[in-house]
Amino acid sequence: MIRAFRAEMVKLLRRRVWLLTAAAVVVVAIGGTAIVLGGAEPAGPGASGQSLTLQDLANAGGGTEVFRRAASFAGFFTFVVFVAAIAVEFGRGTFRTMLLRQPARLRLMAGKMVAMLAYSAGVLAVTMVLTWIAARLFAPSQDIDTGAWMTMDGLAAGVADYAAVLFWITGYAMLGMMLGVLLRSVPIALGVGIAWAGPFEHLLQDAWDPASRFFPGLLLEAFVAGGTDDVEAMRAFVTIAVYVAIAAVVASLSLSRRDVTA
């Protein structure tokens, strides 16, 4: 697995990838911060549900809550990246090339996933810091007091928000990986994944209220939002963890049993 991890890192730690990632990080950090702060409502009778209030932002975890909300805009993008990154290895034939050098299929996939998630974790950490800095710079324009952000409580809230976003990314990554492994084609995997997590689940949610408590895309959305009226964050966390385990088992079975002919 370590060899597969190192090999994947050769692909990820390239100047071109760095530059593209840096651009995405800046867009999410600055753009996301502006959208989150601009959309925050004053506390009062008008503010309800899961909407973020200016009072929330003045709390100790306000700075990193901005990151958490900003990162949630990138959920769809994350899902697409993981589906494509796995499916393209099959479609292009590079998974076969890798298997010739690392025939232990599960170790190969595990190393690749760990590398991609480690890279994602690093990118998330940088994004969180940049978002926090951007939020501090924009906060005065919204009359948000950031004094509490630089306390130990603020740090603890930051760690919790980071862990939550990382878990959320991992959930999308594992579901994307499973689709990529099962369907082995970028357009088909993306088509199925986007149709499922996008219109299909939301249509189901509109037609059947309990859908929010059972379907993975809706649970991931609920989790990163810190819970919704329909499903608590902890329930979402546990259910997503079950989905992650199922995705790992299904992908492992497919990987170990199917021929690699492309």
Binding site: R3, A4, R6, A7, M9, V10, K11, R14, R16, R92, G93, T94, R96, T97, M98, L99, L100, R101, Q102, P103, A104, L108, D259, V260, T261, A262
Partner: protein, 315 residues
């Protein structure tokens, strides 16, 4: 771990028995048994769709056999992790990451197999890509891609090299270059299994041949033995076309088979010395008053024998 030996005592690097692969009703490889001795360059021949790639995929752990068993480097086929570290392979064309440079692609392969990346410049030099290592793989010509594939297969100095149609899609110059490269990388301690659908592409570098068709074995053994299966043919033509029928009678009377062609006759020879038969038939023709305008021995043609074999002529 099982050491399998050929009848002549040489150890087999690849030994399979009854290897079969079915996809639904379609049989891709049919009860194939073959041996590849250590240290040879083995040509794995068969027309497109004969089952070469499927066989190689099973040898390399990419596809699971429906039936049969075998060993590669003395380890059973169902344990590819035990032997693939000593095998380099290029199968179904060179597939790498198009956005990565040649060097980066080789680094990925070296890291995956746990080998030292310091050998990469030497390998690029060997495949004559040292000046293009920093270019992206997507910008390579097909010939360059194939050569990078060979370089990747050579990482770790493998004992067994499996090359699937490395000349596919190359122009004649590229084919010559690839043939020379295969000659360069073959040596006593390394066995090379190279597939092709054209015998002419590999016959010059192979000392062992395996011919399959429709998933079944048609020949395996030394390249010389394959050549020995073919009889030389004597071609005769009379000065006057009217004498051809009489010439056929003369040849048959002399104890040879003769086939009438449009402008002459052909005589398959099952004799050790075809020159003696030519002299004898020339004398017989002169005795019968027939002047020969043409008399020559056609030596065994490997390509035509191969084509006859895979196209059904020898069945």
């Amino acid at each position: 771990m099982t050491v399998h030996h050929l009848p002549d005592g040489r150890p087999s690097v690849i030994a399979v028995e009854g290897l079969t692969k079915r996809y639904g009703d379609q049989v891709a490889v049919d009860n194939l048994s073959l041996d590849v001795p250590r240290g040879v360059v083995a040509g794995f021949l068969g027309p497109n769709g004969a089952g070469k790639t499927t066989t190689m995929a099973m040898l390399l752990g990419l596809a699971r056999p429906t039936a049969g068993r075998g060993t590669v480097l003395e380890f059973p086929l169902d344990r590819p992790t035990a032997y693939l570290g000593r095998v380099g392979a290029l199968i179904e064309g060179p597939t790498f990451w198009p956005g990565l440079t040649g060097i980066e692609n080789l680094r990925v392969i070296a890291k995956l197999s746990g080998h030292d990346t310091r050998q990469i410049p030497e390998l690029l030099d060997l495949v004559r890509l040292s000046g293009r290592g920093s270019d992206r793989f997507g910008q390579y010509s097909l010939g360059m891609k194939q050569r990078l594939g060979i370089a990747a297969a050579l990482i770790g100095d493998p004992e067994l090299l499996v090359l699937d149609e490395p000349t596919n899609g190359l122009d004649p110059a590229g084919i010559n270059e690839m043939r020379a490269l295969i000659g360069d990388i073959a040596h006593d301690d390394r066995t090379v299994l190279v597939s092709s659908h054209l015998l002419a592409e590999v016959e010059q570098v192979c000392d062992w041949l395996i011919v399959i068709d429709h998933g079944a074995l048609r020949y395996q053994g030394p390249a010389d033995g394959f050549l020995g299966q073919v009889s030389p043919v004597l071609t005769l033509a009379s000065e006057r076309p009217d004498d051809l029928d009489r010439l056929v009678e003369v040849v048959r009377t002399a104890g040879f088979d003769a086939a009438r062609e449009r402008d002459g006759i052909t005589v398959p020879l099952n004799v050790a010395e075809p020159r003696d038969a030519a002299v004898a038939l020339n004398k017989e023709a002169i005795s019968a008053g027939i002047v020969l305008a043409e008399l020559h021995v056609q030596r065994p043609n490997l390509e035509s024998h191969y084509l006859a074999m895979v196209e059904g002529g020898d069945r």
